[in-house]
């Protein structure tokens, strides 16, 4: 993937076309971008990276790059949940993928659910919090603990109730209450989808989205500092400004390196190490990157009118989703200390 594929270039243009102030303002009022979703569906992009036998197309690397662009252009659609999470869990479990946008949740992290099975009949009940795009989805894909490892359940929209909620960026993050019976076509257990892997995938999608948002912060900030003049010079001519721009570029670059590496290892034994590193780095970059971007924009950056905050609000929100830095760093650190330095060095170098 040294050059973006035609497919990725096409999807990037679609996201960019829908990156307009009207759409961004709509999204702030809790709407999702239905026109964008329809365009993605018509062009077959919503199942990017899903195996062909399950109706998808494109490879995983293209799916990741498309997701990064979705993050860059604040796409108010469940692209991650559908293409990279829900459809992944269903396809890996040998289940069919329903049409329409999907929501995705992992228990117990998102809330306590009870899953029971009697022959071909399944029962699921419980309450989940902060489920992305639950109210817009045609179905919720839930990965939950089960005696055989984990169960993957596909719960149609008419079988769960929601209370609308949102994250800081006003993206739908709903409370979901479910108490439903499902037949064997909508539930499976004992495949290679585990709670841990589902959680890691979720974190990967947030790290990749954040890389896209950081790229946008850098573009906006470079462009603003080249236009804006004070004391008779453009801002970018001030060395103090240049040094901060370089730090911002550095944060965006290291977050990207970490996230793309995590994507490369998502199905192997080192996924735990690289996903944790990617989510921690993305979170740190969100903190310092958003700080620098706002500082260099001055007061205009904090207005409702200017576009910067659409990206920074998303960064701050995604930072907390699927485990913030504290979650992942503690996990990494506890494992490192438990294993000892020599085993840690082996773990890093054999990854």
């Amino acid at each position: 993937m040294t050059e973006p594929s035609l497919l990725v270039a096409a999807i990037g243009r679609i996201f960019e076309d829908h990156y307009t102030s009207d759409r961004l303002q709509d999204a702030k009022r809790g709407a999702w971008s239905e026109p964008l979703w329809r365009t993605l569906e018509e062009t077959g992009m919503t199942l990017l990276s899903v195996p062909e036998e399950h109706g998808g197309g494109g490879d995983f690397a293209e799916g990741i790059e498309a997701l990064r662009l979705a993050g860059k252009y604040c796409a108010a659609v469940p692209f991650a949940e559908t293409a990279l999470l829900g459809a992944w869990a269903l396809a890996r479990s040998g289940m069919s993928i329903p049409s329409g946008p999907l929501a995705f949740a992992v228990a117990p992290q998102a809330g306590a659910v009870e899953v029971s099975q009697a022959g071909a009949r399944w029962r699921v009940s419980g309450t989940l919090r902060d489920v992305a795009w639950a109210r817009m989805a045609s179905a919720l894909v839930l990965v939950a603990p089960h005696a055989a490892g984990a169960a993957v359940l596909c719960i149609p929209r008419d079988r769960y109730e929601i209370t609308a909620g949102e994250n800081l960026a006003h993206e739908a993050r709903d409370e979901v209450r479910v108490s439903a019976e499902l037949d064997a076509s909508s539930a499976r257990a004992g495949n290679d989808v585990t709670v841990e892997r589902a959680w890691q995938r979720g974190a990967l999608t947030r790290a990749v989205l954040m890389c896209g948002a950081l790229d946008r912060l850098l573009e906006l900030t470079v462009s603003y500092t080249r236009q804006r003049s004070q004391f008779g010079r453009t801002l970018i001519q001030f060395q103090a400004v240049q040094q901060e721009l370089a730090r911002l570029a550095g944060e965006a670059a290291i977050a990207k390196a970490a996230a793309l590496t995590a994507a490369a290892h998502i199905d192997d034994a080192s996924a735990g190490l690289y996903v944790a590193a990617a989510k921690v780095k993305a979170g740190e970059a969100a903190y310092s990157g958003a700080g620098i971007a706002h500082q260099l924009h001055g007061a205009i950056g904090v207005t409702d009118e200017y576009v910067l905050h659409h990206s920074t609000l998303r960064l701050w929100s995604w930072r907390a989703e699927y485990g913030a830095e504290a979650h992942w760093s503690q996990k990494l650190g506890a494992q490192a200390v438990e294993a000892g330095a020599s085993a840690l060095w082996k773990r890093i170098t054999e990854a």
Binding site: M1, T2, Q243, L332, G340, I348
Partner: protein
């Protein structure tokens, strides 16, 4: 805007790399057990015997062609050797610059005779180079060097002074960046590189002692030193292009972020029974940073193996900036996590590493390009004019 075409997704270490790692670890264990070296954090120890042992095993000049004593291995294999040596805090200073800078420069710009004269000896771990760049009034502003060479019968006469030259008192030869035509409007022009035998008449070195008294840096004086024509590196007048061409390799390697890792490892082992939640978070945060920096460094090393090597000098500047600050973050974390007093002698390993890392801490962000210069390079790429 950086790493736009760098391959992270399909980057994998080549098959057989685990064997190489095992050989290295066995060698390092054996050397340590025999008391052949003691790990130190800092500038690295100058140990010709150790360098020769590495050379004998084929771990110097790894990527160079066989006809020059190299081993035609990949940049990723070289990366593995570098990081294992640094993780073990092995004494690699003697051959370091020759392996990292002199060799690649000779391969790219040197004559056949120069390559045959130096490369096999470097790869064997027996020939050491110093790099003469900075001068009393030319630090970050390297292009303003005043050391000058004037043409004479059969060669050049060199006059001037270099400073901060690591290990010049022990090296055999030195690359000297000097002016071969007068300083004009464009200061990047008129610079050349000469290969100077440090035993030549007229060369004098004097120690610049480090703040703890160690002799590592030198001043090197050239007083009418004759340098024959066949010791001109590359083309007269192209010195600036030549020295900047190797910067990506020089600034992105593990030596820019691994120097204090032995301290991190020692802290992890000391915490074993007493890591609370916050301690685990701090250890994990540093691990996340380390893994991410390593990923960038590895990706750059991987790009060196391509037919057409992309220009990654800006990305390398970034690795050095982030990496050298990371080295300090380890030192600071050690203080937060372990109650101990830094002690150069007579203490525990942690106390010694902490002392060495503390003393060493100011230099990483200065040598090889200061933080401020590196950030200017990145800003320039973003469209800033300086």
């Amino acid at each position: 805007m950086l790493f736009t075409s760098t391959d992270f997704v399909s980057l994998k270490l080549p098959p057989g790399i685990d064997t190489l790692r095992r050989e290295l670890r066995a060698f390092l264990d054996e050397q340590r057990a025999a008391g052949r070296f003691h790990p130190h954090v800092g500038h690295g120890e100058f140990d010709p015997q150790f360098s020769e042992a590495l050379g004998a095993r084929g771990w110097i000049g790894m990527t160079w062609p066989r006809q020059y004593g190299g081993h035609e291995r990949s940049y990723l294999e070289r990366f593995v050797v570098t990081e294992e040596l640094l993780a073990a805090a092995a004494p690699v200073a003697a051959h370091w610059f020759a392996d990292r800078q002199t060799g690649p420069s000779l391969l790219r710009w040197g004559t056949e005779a120069q390559r045959l004269k130096f490369l096999p000896a470097i790869a064997a771990g027996r020939c050491y180079f110093a790099i003469g760049m900075s001068e009393p009034n030319s630090g970050s502003d390297l292009a303003s060097v005043r050391t000058r060479a004037t043409q004479t019968d059969g060669g050049w006469v060199l006059n001037g002074q270099k400073v901060w030259t690591s290990w010049a008192h022990k090296a055999h030869a030195m690359f000297v960046l000097c002016r071969t035509s007068p300083l004009g409007e464009k200061k990047h022009e008129g610079l050349s590189q000469l290969i100077v035998d440090l035993k030549s008449p007229g060369v004098k070195t004097r120690p610049i002692r480090f703040l703890n008294g160690d002799h590592h840096f030198n001043e090197v004086f050239f007083d009418d030193v004759f340098v024959p024509d066949d010791m001109v590196l590359g083309t007269i007048g192209q010195g600036w292009r030549q020295v900047t061409s190797e910067l990506a390799l020089e600034r992105s390697g593990p030596e820019r972020y691994m120097n204090t890792l032995p301290l991190y490892f020692a802290v992890i082992d000391a915490l074993k029974s007493s890591a609370d939640r916050m301690a685990a978070q701090l250890i994990g945060t540093l691990l996340a940073r380390f893994v991410s920096i390593r990923t960038m460094s590895l990706a750059i090393a991987n790009e060196f193996g391509r037919e057409e090597v992309p220009d990654l000098a800006t990305e390398a500047a970034l690795v050095k900036d982030i990496g050298t600050h990371f080295e300090r973050e380890i030192t600071e974390a050690a203080r937060a996590l372990i109650a101990c007093t830094p002690r150069l002698e007579g203490g525990t390993d942690i106390e010694r590493y902490l002392a060495e890392a503390t003393i060493f801490s100011p230099i990483g962000t200065i040598r090889g390009g200061t933080t401020q210069v590196l950030r200017s390079i990145v800003a320039k790429r973003l469209g800033a004019q300086q």
